[in-house]
Amino acid sequence: MKPAPFEYYAPTTIDEALSHLAEHGYDAKVLAGGQSLIPMMNFRLVQPSVLVDLNNIAELSYIHPDESGGLRLGAMTRHHQVEVDPLVAELAPLLHETMPKIATSQIRSRGTFGGSLSHADPSAELVSVSVALDGRFRLRGQNGERWVPANEFFIGLFTTLLEPDEILVEAALPSMPVRSGCSLMEVARRPHDFALVGVAAVVTLDENKLCQQARMVFLSAGDGPMVAHKAAESLKGQAPTLEAIRAAAEIAASEDIDPGSDIHATAEFRRHLANVLARRALEQAFERAADNK
C-alpha cells in the first residue's frame, strides 16, 4: 500500500520546525529516520496530515562529550554514526555494544537516536539502555525546554511525555562510575530482528567488591522498559557470587517483569529467557566491573 497524502515541511532550524508543530498540533508528526513511521504510513496504520521532516536540521546531529565526562547526542544522530563513533566506544561501552544489535545496516543508516526514543517501542534497545544508563532527554517546544529523566520519559506502550508540539532534541548519558560494568544480552529469532526478550545491565561495586548498585532493564518484557527493582534490592550490599546472581535473575524474571504472549513467544517462555539472560548479563557486568578499577 502507499501512504495517504500529507502536507510536507522540511525546515532547516529547530525553531522553524517547532513553529510548524505549534501551528498544526495533533495533526502533525515529526519525520526523523522514518524507519518506524514510514512503514506505518505505508500500511496506513497512521495517516498524519502534516509531516515536519527533521532531516535537514544540521544542528540536531552530533555526538560530543560534556563537562562531567558524559555524552551528548543530538536527536538526529543516525544509529550508524553512533555505532562507529570512537567517543561512544570510549565513554559509553554499553551503547557501543548495543548499536550493531539494532536492525540491519540498511536501517541503521537512516534510523535515529531521537526517533527510537520518541517512538518508545518496548522492544527497542535504546529505550532500555538509556534507562539503564540513567540518561536524560532534552525536550523543546515553542515555549521553552525541559529535561526529563529517561525513567520518567517512557510512560507506556509507544507513549512518552512528549507533547505534540515538542521535539526531543538531545540525549545526555552520564559517565560510568569507577568499578562499574555493563552488559546487553538478548535473544531474537533471527539476528537483527526485534528481540523476544533482552536485558541491559549496569552494575557498580563498592571498595570491598560488594554490589553497590545493580540496575537491570528489560526490553520486550512489558509495556515499556521494565526496571528490575526487586532484583536490584536483593543484590545490594551482597558479594556478586553466582548464587546471588542466580537468585536475582530468578526474582527479576518472576516478579519484576510483565511479558505478554504473542505469535513469537508465550509469556512463560519470555520469563524463562529473561531468567537466563539476566544471569548471563549480571555475570558479565560484574566481571567487567571487577576489571574496571
Binding site: M1, K2, P3, A4, P5, F6, E7, Y8, A10, G34, Q35, I38, P39, M41, N42, F43, L51, D53, N55, H80, A103, T104, S105, Q106, I107, S109, R110, R190, P191, H192
Partner: protein, 158 residues
C-alpha cells in the same frame, strides 16, 4: 497545500529534475518516474531488503524514504553498478557462483555488498552472513550467495 515539489536528484551519476508529490516513496520514484526497475519492491516495510539502494554511498531501504527527501542527494541503484557488457566484479561473481535463481533479491543484495566489501575486503563467512542478514532470498538458501560474496571479495582484492 503544496502537493508537488521540484526535486533534483543524482541517480547513478545522472542528474534528474522532477516534480513529485511528497508521499511518493523513493522506490516508486526510481521505478515509475525514472524507469529504473532494477530496484525491486517486496514488502514496503523495511524487512525484505529487495529495495536496497545506496543513499549517499550508504545502503538504505528506498521503500522507507520519500522521494522528496532525496533532493540534493546521490543515489546508486543496481543499474549504476555495471552494464551487461561490463559487469561489476560483484555481478560477475554472482553470475559465476550461481548467487541467484529468480533474481528478485539480487539488486538489494548487490547494493548492500558494495560498501560492505569496500570497508571489509577480506570478510569471514560469518561476517558475510551478518552483512546479508537484512536481505531475504526465497530461492537460493543463501549458501551460493555467501560463495558469490567470497568470490567477489577475491576478485575485488586483485
Amino acid at each position: 497545500m503544496q502537493n508537488s515539489f521540484n526535486i533534483a536528484v543524482t541517480v547513478n551519476d545522472t542528474r534528474y529534475e522532477r516534480a513529485v508529490e511528497p508521499r511518493i516513496l523513493l522506490s516508486d520514484f526510481l521505478r515509475h518516474d525514472l524507469g529504473l526497475t532494477g530496484t525491486h519492491v517486496g514488502c514496503e516495510h523495511g524487512v525484505c531488503g529487495a529495495c536496497t539502494i545506496l543513499f549517499d554511498g550508504q545502503p538504505a531501504r528506498s521503500c522507507l524514504v520519500f522521494a522528496v527527501q532525496a533532493h540534493g542527494h546521490k543515489i546508486t541503484t543496481v543499474e549504476g553498478l555495471g552494464t551487461i557488457d561490463n559487469l561489476h566484479p560483484i555481478q560477475e561473481a554472482f553470475h559465476e557462483a550461481h548467487g541467484l535463481q529468480c533474481g528478485f533479491c539480487t539488486p538489494g543484495i548487490l547494493t548492500t555488498i558494495v560498501p560492505f566489501l569496500e570497508q571489509n575486503p577480506d570478510p569471514s563467512e560469518e561476517e558475510i552472513r551478518e552483512a546479508i542478514s537484512g536481505n531475504l532470498c526465497r530461492c537460493t538458501g543463501y549458501q551460493h550467495i555467501v560463495d558469490a560474496v567470497k568470490l567477489a571479495a577475491e576478485k575485488m582484492r586483485k
